[in-house]
Symmetry: C2
Subunit: 199 residues, 2 copies
């Protein structure tokens, strides 16, 4: 574990206090994944001149709302007047874009860069900041992930962040297609921007 | 070639007269493709209780505007007040959805079922009529098409039209992804409806 001190007031407390709140919101298994994402995000932030404290917080909170109920997500979509089209989707989509609202409310985090990184961590976006990319890629390559190309993905991630975004986006879409699984249309905007434009 | 007589006034003239107009609008090579699509569309229409005259006309006109210039398509998008988002795209997308407007104006075809089949022949749609499916699939399997899975695609097409829509949609997306080519977001709506829901 790291011993990262928070100084910038993105969160009103220490890293340990933030971790304690997250641990209350998710299962043990997901908490281990979250710590892995934070660690990878901090490393990628250091490599790419991104604010390490933001990377730590965004990594820690990215799945904060993942285990909330369908009812809770739908309630938040309506209460916050989010795009009603969201109601047609599911936890996979909601825990990022709706999760950011839950994080803002419960953890009192209002930094829009951190919240956007949470919003965009699931399917990316045509517009992504360096912090967004760090969290998106960290979620894919954290040390607990096991899939055939993961070592290759890790190598790319620490070599070229944009190429890692492209690799992850294409890899995920190919997996979804092969398995006949639903693709969220915004994932195609990520693909058109970061895969087509890069290659 | 067939000798199909038109009786229903979807087009104000004979099939030969329609063919003559199409021949003036496209290259010889594309005209051969168009005749192949018409033939496949008529056969698929017969198998699926779809109006054969509509299938013939939709097959013949589906690529009528394919060789028009970027300038012409942009002019039509503005003049007809089509979705301005279309301006960001290209001939591949325009020749269906904008092409339908050019067909309506120049060939005086106003049957919305025929025009919708033209609009939807390129990337499909979440909502597709039987005629839409017939033209979408005919374009994929017509006798001039050559690609590794084309015989398999033809077998599916004459066995189950919905499965053929699913096969074509998935096959095309897999090709585009592997080649890092742009994917039009509406193609994902087709995939989510006809591939994910079917499998």
């Amino acid at each position: 574990m790291f011993d990262l001190k928070y100084h910038k007031d993105y969160f009103a407390g220490s890293r340990d206090e933030l971790c304690a709140k997250i641990q209350q919101s998710v299962s043990t298994k997901r908490y281990q994944h979250i710590l892995g994402v934070e660690q990878a995000a901090v490393q990628l932030a250091q490599e790419n001149n991104v604010d390490v404290e933001k990377a730590s917080i965004a990594g820690l909170v990215h799945d904060y709302a993942k285990e909330r109920s369908t009812e809770e997500f739908k309630r938040v979509i309506k209460k916050k007047h989010l795009d009603p089209d969201l109601l047609k989707w599911n936890n996979f989509i909601w825990h990022g874009v709706v999760g950011a609202e839950i994080i803002a409310d419960e953890l009192k985090i209002d930094d829009e860069e951190i919240l956007n990184a949470v919003r965009r961590h699931t399917v990316g976006s045509a517009v992504m900041t360096q912090l967004d990319k760090v969290v998106y890629v960290a979620d894919f390559i954290e040390k607990g992930r096991v899939f055939p190309d993961v070592d290759f993905a890790r190598t790319i991630a620490f070599n070229n962040l944009d190429q890692a975004v492209a690799f992850e986006t294409k890899h995920t879409l190919q997996y979804l297609l092969a398995a006949n699984k639903t693709i969220y249309p915004a994932a195609i905007e990520t693909y058109n921007r970061w895969v087509v434009a890069v290659n």
